[in-house]
Amino acid sequence: MNPIAKAREAVTHSTHTLPSRRSGGHDTAPDSGSVPVVALCGAAVRVGGRTLWSGVDLRIGSGEFTAVLGPNGVGKSTMIKVLLGALPAAAGEVRVLGARPGQANDRIGYLPQRRSFDATLRIRGIDVVRMGLDGDRWGVPLPFPSARRRAAHARVDEVIELVGASAYAHRPIGQCSGGEQQRLLIAQALIRRPELLLLDEPLDSLDLPNQSAVAALIGRICHQEGVSVVMVAHDVNPILHHLDRVVYLAEGGAATGTPEEVITSGTLTRLYGTPVEVLRTSDSRLVVVGQPEAPAVHTDRHSGGPS
């Protein structure tokens, strides 16, 4: 498939441009001369007096697919909150779309951690998508034909077509399956043509075929539409083929770079300070073995990891 090939190309490209791994703590995006979409420099975050992670250096260029990985409770979703400006960084510098976090939120599409709609909710999927376009505007839409109304309808149809939800967009959203709801919510996040898409575990609680289908959809949006994606993920495998960049969070520290650089036995062992082994199965899925869970260390758990 074209997007996958493109993603691989992007990965190899950025590997070549990197002179050395994380030179000077800076992970440089392929230099296109433009401002990076997301730039973190020595960023740290503290919640309730506890430092979740610190020393995160990250530069994400436009049209790149980045995954935020790590064990439960390490502050992956907190990273999204920091990028949205909902939580201040305790240290370091954070720039999102060339501005302070929270300043450019109208250019960001945000998909919170999985919400499912009640089965009895009688609102169509197309209405939920439409709310992403102008749901925050005061007043009520007037039922008269106008240029703006036509443009809104066209944009809603276009974005629903893009995520392949045309068949069920007119059904009440509560009656759609988990995968169908997730596609509609991605359409909602995309409708204002954001430059950056922040996704919080969008594959959570989807079955395996839907996981890979939605992952492929996000990869396609990222590489074909040129939208940068930052996605919090519990399991790297469904998205591995689409990824350009990985942020691996551990208690206290972090490692950033391409998946090939970061998800290795060496990097993760250094990050956790305890032996971690990364195995590659015959179908090139990654299995992380011996990774401690944050905050508690379960020595009895050998094959848990981020799967």
Partner: protein
């Protein structure tokens, strides 16, 4: 509750003469005017109540309307002022109790509600005037609605509708998808408080027609019926208003021509509409399922 002194009016099947007959009494004209205003206001607010699943809050507010009306009568002012004062106050208390959370069911709410209901009965006992007992407050009446009350209902109703027109779209967003709405800068919490105040005002209006116990007849049933019939927001909102309006005016007509209370008729008509809608949906589901295997057969033809 019956038309004392006028004799039992007889229903002819000529609608024109029937309405001429009813509207020859100024109090009936007032009742129909008040009914129209109340139906529209409580239908629109009720549509959001059903969507937001706030029927418990609506129930609490309506229960509080009873001591409000009884207390107002005891103080010698019109019941309508009591409705408005206590309903809006109750809405503000609920908003304060809920805090940042979405848990509206609170033991404190129930406790205060019980005490206020008891106070309402005390007020009606203390008031030995022209009150037939608590029934008119609890189950509604169309007698004695004055022109100034109609004006008050219209003014408050217009304000409620105007505010809803202003906050309608963000309120819908915040009701369906609060997380993303707040991410987009919609003041979800403030909208929730504003909506509770509107709910209080609309409940007070509906109490005037259906009585405080049967407020749901206009607040919840029309909206629930419309949302069964369609998932299109604009259409179901319009349908809600139409259903509430029809239930109120049919109820007023039925109550005029019979000795039974108004609230019963409005509720029964609205409930009948709900059952019909449920029946229609199951029927169309059955037909749709039966129609599915038939569809491919048409393709080769």
């Amino acid at each position: 509750m019956t038309l004392a002194g006028t004799g039992a009016p007889a229903w002819s099947w000529n609608l024109l003469t029937d309405f001429q007959d009813m509207w020859s009494y100024p109090f009936m004209v007032n009742a129909f005017r008040a009914g129209a205003v109340v139906a529209v206001v409580s239908a629109v607010v009720g549509w959001f109540v059903v969507l937001r699943r706030q029927t418990f809050a609506a129930h609490t507010v309506s229960a509080v309307a009873f001591p409000g009306a009884a207390g107002a009568l005891l103080l010698g002012v019109s019941a309508v002022y009591g409705y408005f004062t206590l309903c809006v106050a109750a809405a503000l208390v609920i908003a304060a109790l809920r805090g940042g959370g979405e848990h509206e069911e609170s033991a404190l709410t129930g406790t205060v509600q019980a005490f206020l209901l008891a106070s309402g009965f005390l007020f009606t006992a203390l008031y030995r005037g022209l009150l037939e007992g608590p029934q008119t407050i609890l189950f509604g009446t169309f007698l004695g609605i004055t022109s100034s009350q109609v004006t008050l209902l219209t003014v408050v109703g217009s304000v409620v509708l105007a505010v809803l027109a202003l906050i309608g779209r963000p309120l819908l967003f915040a009701s369906v998808d609060p997380q993303v709405a707040s991410g987009r800068g919609v003041p979800v919490r403030a909208l929730s408080v504003v909506f509770l105040v509107l709910l209080g005002a609309a409940t007070a209006e509906a109490s005037q027609i259906t009585g405080t116990l049967l407020v749901f007849a206009l607040m919840v049933i029309p909206a629930a019926t419309a949302q069964i019939l369609t998932a299109r927001p604009a259409l179901s909102l319009a349908l809600t208003v139409l259903l509430a309006f029809a239930a109120t005016w049919l109820g007023l007509t039925a109550a005029y021509y019979s000795p039974y209370p108004l609230g019963f008729f409005v509720t029964t008509i609205a409930f009948a509409g709900y059952l019909l809608a449920l029946g229609w949906r199951s029927l169309s589901a059955v037909l749709g399922r039966a129609g599915l295997p038939a569809a491919p057969r048409e393709v080769p033809a």
